[in-house]
Symmetry: C2
Subunit: 332 residues, 2 copies
Amino acid sequence: MTTYTAINLIARPQGGPIGPALFDVVQKKLPIVGQGEFLVKQSHMSLDPAMFGWMSPDPDSYIPPVELGTVMRSSGIGEVVESNHPDFYVGDRVMGMMGWQQYILSNGAGLNKVTVPLTDETILSIFALPGLTATQGLFNVGKPKKGETLVVSGAAGSVGSIVGQLAKAEGLRVIGIVGTADKADWIVNELGFDGAINYKSENLAEQLAQLTPEGIDIYFENTGGSIQHHVVNRMNAHGRIVVCGMIADYPKAQPDLAPSWIPIIKKRLTIQGFTMPDHFGDIPQLLEKLTPYVMQGKIKHRSHTLEGLESAITGLNFFFTGQNKGKLIVKL
Amino acid sequence: MTTYTAINLIARPQGGPIGPALFDVVQKKLPIVGQGEFLVKQSHMSLDPAMFGWMSPDPDSYIPPVELGTVMRSSGIGEVVESNHPDFYVGDRVMGMMGWQQYILSNGAGLNKVTVPLTDETILSIFALPGLTATQGLFNVGKPKKGETLVVSGAAGSVGSIVGQLAKAEGLRVIGIVGTADKADWIVNELGFDGAINYKSENLAEQLAQLTPEGIDIYFENTGGSIQHHVVNRMNAHGRIVVCGMIADYPKAQPDLAPSWIPIIKKRLTIQGFTMPDHFGDIPQLLEKLTPYVMQGKIKHRSHTLEGLESAITGLNFFFTGQNKGKLIVKL
């Protein structure tokens, strides 16, 4: 093979579903591997809600958007297939920001070797962005205490499912908000959440009251939408709201407004947002915190694998529709 | 004199102006001063926006509401006129929660002696709730750094004016939001703010952009209303929003919604509410922080004194109309 497939971003999303009009599928010649370089064949790549931020031209975005005409940004895992680099050998497994392409020429910057004996799907589902995000958000922003009650939205999602399991392992009562009966069943019966609420089919306010009899101490926000209004009403004094994602509101030209700040005063709440690029320097400490839970078998995951690089294009819409069953991964 | 006047709260506000229907003006017999007790003649009392919370039956409120049929709660300053208490002597000046009444029988709990050589108005304007609130909110929640930009709403109010002056003394750029030209003039020309915006007469978004060329690092919220929407748009990364008061929204049956949480993520903002009852134990440290600024003449104040206990009843409406020029105080 002397060519490979890559997908460039060629237009910005304008709201509404993501489709082929935003991307250009191109064939590229395999590059020559120079001194100090190596070639990676990507085997699996991760689809993450953060991608909507990367595709958007918003000047407030926390990292620069993908430049039009260049390869779409993503994290992935693969194998070194050719190397002129002193530290990376053919056969090494590596992960990092690889982009929507089959092959990546690298000098090693931003790629890390993977040595744990876990599948590609597990690595991308737990040790990549989702697990690091869950660990940073729960422990360093949410500051959980044993016996408290945590509610997490997007609870069957890649971040939410890990947040809930970590919180359970820490001795909290954990209630997850999901959008399908299957997800509700999974987080309660497989992951061990104390309760699940399907926001589409149930009366959220009533269910919340029933499942959080002692109120809510931590709300981990992954979705946006109307859930936050009901949750704020049940927050306890000194509660913490971790704002991690607003997927339901990103596609809206005019995002929904948030609950009045009056309860923030009355209940002395803290609402704090975070994004992982601020914490890339903390990854070793975050992995140190996360790894024992994984090795003790306390963090289960479910991945939803799409086949073929081009499946990424429409696969992104799963974040809006909630159709995916677990961490979205593309198998190349 | 063997009787004195007290004002009991007899009904809860239902929205709209505060009036005589909520209160009962009663004459009481002067109590007999028992062993370990003393009698205070109150000379000045403070009117504070926190009173709306104290009058309200909201179960979420941070301290219990005033019970119907009992004296309305307030802080004040006065003189001991009779004493059977070992530590309080006739002629001592004391301050604390005294309520809407001319005389207070006390065993000393919650009352503190005042020894600084400042007028009653200055004590109530700076060293009572407003100054403590400003100090706690600015330093312990807002965490100001020299060179940053702070915007404060209700900037000519009892808390806002002290927040702004403390921030100026710390080397921040300070912009105040006010509701009259007179207040704008006062905070800029008397208090030394870097700028003022009259939200009623000017284009808030444009003025904010002009006066905060480097964005906003701290927003100190005293009023609620639409200001927060414009401010959030100009917040810098890692900005802090201190939520202290929502006076414009308290009288509304349905308070206005707040800005979407999307910028909280993108800019990694922290929005934190606080109320002083959580920090009554910290008053010595807060006074230690505040006093040097006052003694160095860096904290000016303006008080607006109403005459006579009964003037408190309609005086509370000044918080809604913004007619008061400085800290609202009732002279008994």
